[in-house]
């Protein structure tokens, strides 16, 4: 009986939520008129519903679907919040749930007084107001942004039991709309010695990073809109960089300046941070592209399978900073045998692809894994191979296969397999 309730909410063990689900589905008797009939009607059908709203918010029954915040004790504006990937379906991350990484809080920026300056090795330094940027041709693209530090708990010796999104949800996927950077850089006139662009934000820390100019000319976007509405403050309002497929740090939020230069500035966030320390003590620098990766979002760690035997839709997300996802395989035996999962169309370049496959469980011990391949032929490595190649202290850019252990009771744990 108790297990049955869990199935009402994607197998989650929230007793409060199962209680709510029971209440609302409990049929109540209607009026005298319907009393003589067999049918019973739900209360929502017997009285007028709620009011219109100027800006909609999620159902109160979904109030546990939240970002998980983890911040520095002495600097509360320095930290992250995780997208609850294990609670979501489809591929687009709702704006209120897009992951956050801030270094010193979310700035309050008035678009009427905010400008983006393009200067340095250009023929004509230019200043763009937000109002002017909004008048340029707007280009839209769907892509993921993943923090270079996503999943980094997995470098540790013992597997974290945090929910899937709260360990791997420093990645989100949205439709970004704005002005192609090539347009604006060319308007300023790129000098031939310009090889890098130093991007700087208007946050309390003026975050700065160096980005190769070729990438920005290729598909860089100055984004003003996120999933159709203007950017959320925590995602860079009023304007941010989108650098498709590249680690989150270079997608500079609250952008105030792009300075073209011949060489990188060697800023703190491209030396001290976001570089991959190897066992020999050397560190890979400017490892911008997020590598091919996938994650089963349901069923996943912390959930319990409600029915034995039962048929379950094993589903998750795959993405690659190099291109499109070409294949996702799923294993229920810890990687001994694999089966191709169904990929939901459309499959987009450098964007989330949703995969799914039906799975019959009849009480057997199982280890669920997904393994993605992208169009360049890159295959997601096992954890063993990743650690053998990169060591335990690489800290960033973790993309190994993630394993969910299903025990005989249907309880799911995170394991290294």
């Amino acid at each position: 009986m108790e297990k049955h309730h869990k199935s009402r909410r994607q197998f989650l063990q929230h007793s409060a939520l199962s209680g709510v689900a029971m209440m609302t589905s409990l049929p109540i008797l209607a009026s005298e008129l319907t009393k003589n009939k067999v049918s019973t009607l739900s209360s929502s059908m017997l009285k007028p519903g709620g009011e219109f709203s100027n800006y909609g918010t999620p159902s109160p029954y979904e109030k546990e679907v939240i970002r998980w915040i983890s911040a520095n004790s002495d600097v509360p504006g320095n930290g992250v919040s995780w997208t609850p990937l294990h609670e979501l379906q489809g591929t687009i991350t709702p704006n209120g749930l897009h992951y956050e990484r801030h270094h010193n809080g979310v700035p309050d920026i008035n678009p009427d007084t905010h400008n983006v300056v393009i200067d340095g090795l250009v023929d004509k330094p230019l200043n763009f107001s937000i109002h002017h940027l909004l008048r340029y041709p707007q280009h839209s693209r769907i892509c993921f942004i993943e923090c270079g530090g996503n999943s980094n708990e997995n470098y540790k010796t013992s597997p974290s039991q945090a929910s899937a999104g709260y360990a791997h949800g420093l990645v989100s996927n949205a439709e970004w709309t704005g002005v192609p950077l090539a347009l604006l850089l060319n308007e300023a006139g790129i000098q031939s010695s310009a090889k890098w662009v130093i991007a700087e934000g208007a946050d309390a820390g003026a975050l700065n990073v160096s980005i190769p100019i070729d990438k920005l000319l290729d598909d860089g976007l100055l984004a003003l809109y996120q999933n159709g509405e203007r950017l959320r403050p925590e995602n860079g309002y009023p304007v941010r960089l989108i650098v498709p497929g590249w680690e989150g740090i270079v997608n500079v939020k609250w952008l105030r300046q792009l300075k073209l230069s011949a060489s990188p500035a060697m800023t703190r966030d491209e030396t001290s941070q976001y570089t991959d320390l190897q066992p020999d003590g050397k560190a890979q620098q400017f490892s911008f592209e997020m590598q091919v990766k996938s994650l089963i979002t349901s069923p996943s760690v912390g959930m319990t399978l409600p029915d034995n035997p039962g048929t379950y839709q094993v589903t998750g997300l795959a993405w690659s900073g190099i291109g499109k996802i070409s294949r996702v395989e799923v294993s229920a035996d810890g990687g001994q045998t694999w089966q191709d999962a169904l990929l939901q169309e459309p499959i987009l370049d450098k964007a989330f692809t949703r995969f799914s496959i039906a799975w019959q469980w009849h009480g057997q011990y199982a280890i669920l894994q997904s393994r993605a391949t992208d169009e360049s032929g890159q295959i997601q490595p096992t954890r063993e191979v990743l650690i053998a190649n990169r060591g335990k202290y690489s800290y960033y850019h973790y993309n190994a296969i993630i394993s969910w252990e299903v025990d005989e009771l249907g309880d799911i744990h995170h394991v290294y397999a």
Binding site: K124, L126, H132, P137, A265, R268, S272, Q285
Partner: protein, 171 residues
């Protein structure tokens, strides 16, 4: 708000020809070469480009550090609620690598750049150039990268050779 030029462009488009350079209006406002605007030259490069006038000593830096930084970064910068800034030189290829400013950072100029824009977190851009040079000198002196009498300025800071200068493999 919409200029006559735009209207012309709309006509042009309805004439069904595609010509990229005519389908939008270039709206960037030309500004002076920004070299004279300090607020547009916050980034400091490894060769010292961007460093301001001023100077600061290890002794001055110690006082400032103990007043403004020690609460989070600990005594001598050895770590607290925020990461260690000093110590662990030579640890990077050991069983317990520790990435501190002194053990890991390739350039000392980055320290000036980052402290000015980010530290202390309660008041970014609140320190004077003299104070930042002094703080850099103090942090670097903790692992004898500089000696106790060192004074840093825009000429000497870029000359500091960090222990891990050659530790990075750019792509």
């Amino acid at each position: 708000m919409f200029m006559p030029k735009l209207i012309m462009i709309i006509f042009f488009l309805s004439g069904s020809v595609q010509a990229n350079d005519e389908t939008y209006q270039a709206l960037g406002a030309p500004i002076d070469q920004t070299i004279s605007h300090p607020e547009l030259n916050l980034t400091i490069f490894p060769d010292g480009t961007g460093l301001p006038e001023g100077s600061g000593s290890v002794a001055q830096g110690k006082q400032l550090f103990n007043r403004l930084c020690i609460s989070c970064h600990g005594q001598g910068g050895r770590g607290g609620s925020a990461m260690a800034l000093t110590g662990d030189i030579g640890s990077l290829n050991s069983a317990y690598p520790e990435k501190t400013v002194n053990s890991f950072w390739p350039y000392a100029t980055t320290l000036f750049d980052y402290i000015r824009r980010s530290m202390p977190p309660s008041a970014p851009f609140s320190l004077s150039s003299n104070e930042i040079y002094a703080l850099c000198a103090y942090v670097l002196s903790q692992d004898a990268i500089l000696d106790e009498n060192a004074v840093l300025d825009k000429t000497t800071l870029p000359q500091v050779k960090m222990p891990n200068r050659d530790g990075f493999l750019p792509r």
